[in-house]
C-alpha cells in the first residue's frame, strides 16, 4: 500500500491568450516529502504553483491538496496550506511583530509569534517596519507568515532568490526544521545546490510541460552526468543559473 499523496495534480493546463503557460502537467507529492520544481523563466513553474494554491483556475485538469480542491474548498485548503509567493509584498508601514500578529489572527490555532520569529531568526527585527527590512529579511518574514497557521503543506516560490549566502543557509535551516516536523513542501527554485540539498524529488518543467520527474540522484544518473547542474543542462539545453 502506498502513502496517500499530500498533493495530486493531474493533466493541469493553463493558457494566457495565445501563450501556453502550463500544458498537461501531472505530479504527486507524498506527505512529508519535499518536491523541487525546476525550470527556466517562463517554464510554467509559478503558474503551476499558483494553480495548486488556488490563486488561478486551471483551464483543464485538477488539483487536490490533502484531498481538497483549492478553489472549491477554498476555506478548508487555506487552513492547511501555507503559501509564500514570488514578488508579493506586505503592508509596508507595519512592523514585523504587527504583520505576524495580523497573519496569526487568520488561523484557529496559529504558531506563537515567538516561535515564528525564532524560526526565521528575526527576533531582533520585531519592531522594524517591513519597508525597512533587507531583501533577505523581507523574504524570511514572508516565509514566517506562510507558516503562521501550522500548515501541513507549504508552497515556497523562489525562496532564496536574491538572498546572500548567509541568508540562504539560514533559510535552509528553517526548511530543515519544517521537514523534521513532517511538513510537505513544494519548493520552486533556481538554485541547484538548494534543490540538491533539500528536495526528495524533482520535477523539471520546460515550456509548460514535465520534462523529467525523478529523485536528484536518478536525474543525474539518467543524464549520465556527475552533478545535478550538469544534468539540468544536459536535459534542457539551458544553464539554469545563467538563464536567469
Amino acid at each position: 500500500m502506498s502513502r496517500a499523496p499530500a498533493v495530486e495534480v493531474e493533466h493541469l493546463a493553463k493558457r494566457f491568450g495565445n501563450t501556453v503557460a502550463v500544458d498537461d502537467v501531472s505530479l504527486r507529492i507524498q506527505q512529508g516529502e519535499t518536491l523541487g520544481i525546476l525550470g527556466i523563466n517562463g517554464s510554467g513553474k509559478s503558474t503551476t504553483v499558483e494553480m495548486i494554491a488556488g490563486l488561478r483556475p486551471p483551464d483543464s485538469g485538477h488539483v487536490r491538496v490533502l484531498g481538497l480542491d483549492p478553489r472549491r474548498d477554498r476555506g478548508a485548503v487555506r487552513q492547511v496550506l501555507g503559501v509564500q509567493l514570488q514578488d508579493a509584498e506586505l503592508h509596508s508601514a507595519l512592523t514585523v511583530a504587527e504583520l505576524i500578529g495580523l497573519y496569526r489572527s487568520f488561523y484557529p490555532d496559529p504558531r506563537s509569534a515567538q516561535e515564528l520569529l525564532d524560526l526565521v531568526e528575526l527576533e531582533d527585527k520585531r519592531d522594524t517596519r517591513f519597508e525597512r527590512l533587507s531583501g533577505g529579511q523581507q523574504q524570511r518574514l514572508s516565509v514566517a507568515l506562510a507558516l503562521a497557521g501550522k500548515p501541513r503543506v507549504v508552497i515556497l516560490d523562489e525562496l532564496t532568490t536574491g538572498l546572500d549566502p548567509a541568508s540562504r543557509r539560514r533559510m535552509w535551516r528553517t526548511l530543515d526544521r519544517l521537514r523534521d516536523d513532517g511538513v510537505t513542501i513544494i519548493l520552486v527554485s533556481h538554485t541547484m545546490e538548494e534543490v540538491e540539498r533539500l528536495c526528495d524529488h524533482i520535477v523539471l518543467l520546460e515550456a509548460g510541460r514535465v520534462l523529467a520527474s525523478a529523485t536528484p540522484a536518478e536525474l543525474v544518473a539518467r543524464a549520465g552526468t556527475s552533478t545535478l547542474d550538469e544534468a539540468f543542462v544536459q536535459l534542457t539545453g539551458h544553464d539554469l543559473e545563467v538563464a536567469e
Binding site: Q31, L85, H91
Partner: protein, 262 residues
C-alpha cells in the same frame, strides 16, 4: 505511518477569521494611514480650506430663525466633500496600491475573505471621514459660531448612509482601476463629477436643469440636500435617501462582480 490510499483527513470544521481578526486588520490599516500621513492632508485640509474661505461671508447670513447659510449650505457641502474624498479617492488608491504590490494576492492565500479585507477598508475610511468632519465642525463652531443640526439623529443617519454610499462608489473605482495611478485618476474624475453635479462649485442653481436633476440623484447631491434638511429641522424627503441607498446597492453589486485579488 499512514498506509492507506485515502487522503489524510482534513478538519471539516472551517475556521473563518472572525471579529477579532477584523479588529486587528482595522488596527493595522489605521496604522498604515497614520504612518503614511500625506494621504490625510487632502481629505482633512481641502474641506477646511473651503470652510475657511466661505464661512466668513455665510456665517451672518440668516436663512431660518436660528440657522445661517454656513449651517444650512456650507457645512453639509463640506461634510459631503470629506466623505466623498475619503470614499472615492483615498480608499480606492489604497486598494489599488495593495493590488499592485501583491498585498491582496498575499491575503488571498490566507483564510481572510475579500469581504473582510474590504470591510476593514470601509471601517478605516469611515474613521478618517469622522476625523475630517469633527475637525471641520470644531473649526466652524468655535471660529464662526456655527450651530449643530436641528434634527441631530436624522443627520447622523444621513451621515452613515452617505459614508457607506461613497465607499460603495469607491469600491467601483477600486475594482475597475488597473493601477494605483489610474485609481487616483478615476477617483478624481468621480469626485469632480459627483461634486460638480451635486453643487460643489457654487450650488446647483447655476447648473443646467437636466444636470442638476441628475446630480440630485447622485450621492453627492443627495447627501447635501438631506444634510441641509436635517440641519434646518425640515423633514428629509424620500428621494435623497433612496438615491443614497441605490448608490450603495449598485456600488456593492458592481464591486462584488469586478473585485479581483490581483
Amino acid at each position: 505511518m499512514n498506509t492507506t490510499d485515502t487522503p489524510a483527513p482534513v478538519s471539516t470544521r472551517i475556521h473563518r477569521p472572525g471579529l477579532r481578526s477584523l479588529a486587528i486588520l482595522v488596527l493595522c490599516e489605521t496604522k498604515m494611514v497614520i504612518r503614511d500621513s500625506a494621504g490625510l492632508i487632502v481629505p482633512l485640509g481641502l474641506p477646511l480650506l473651503i470652510l475657511l474661505t466661505s464661512a466668513g461671508s455665510t456665517a451672518d447670513q440668516m436663512i431660518t430663525a436660528d440657522r445661517t447659510a454656513l449651517d444650512l449650505f456650507v457645512l453639509p457641502l463640506v461634510i459631503t466633500m470629506v466623505l466623498t474624498m475619503v470614499g472615492v479617492l483615498n480608499m480606492p488608491s489604497f486598494l489599488a496600491y495593495y493590488r499592485r504590490t501583491g498585498i491582496l494576492r498575499r491575503l488571498a492565500v490566507t483564510p481572510a475573505s475579500p469581504v473582510m479585507v474590504l470591510s476593514a477598508q470601509v471601517i478605516v475610511s469611515i474613521l478618517q471621514s469622522a476625523l475630517g468632519i469633527i475637525l471641520a465642525l470644531v473649526v466652524a463652531m468655535t471660529a464662526f459660531g456655527a450651530k449643530p443640526p436641528v434634527d441631530l439623529i436624522p443627520a447622523f443617519g444621513v451621515l452613515a448612509l452617505t459614508a457607506t454610499a461613497m465607499c460603495a462608489m469607491g469600491m467601483i473605482v477600486a475594482a475597475s482601476a488597473p493601477t494605483p495611478n489610474s485609481a487616483v485618476a478615476f477617483g478624481l474624475v468621480a469626485f469632480l463629477l459627483l461634486g460638480a453635479t451635486g453643487g460643489m462649485f457654487g450650488g446647483t442653481q447655476s447648473l443646467p436643469e437636466p444636470i442638476a436633476e441628475i446630480g440630485a440623484h447622485l450621492p453627492f447631491g443627495a447627501s447635501v440636500e438631506a444634510l441641509g434638511a436635517a440641519w434646518a429641522g425640515q423633514p428629509i424627503g424620500a428621494a435623497p435617501l433612496l438615491s443614497l441607498a441605490a448608490a450603495i446597492v449598485v456600488g456593492v453589486a458592481v464591486a462584488a462582480w469586478l473585485f479581483r485579488w490581483e
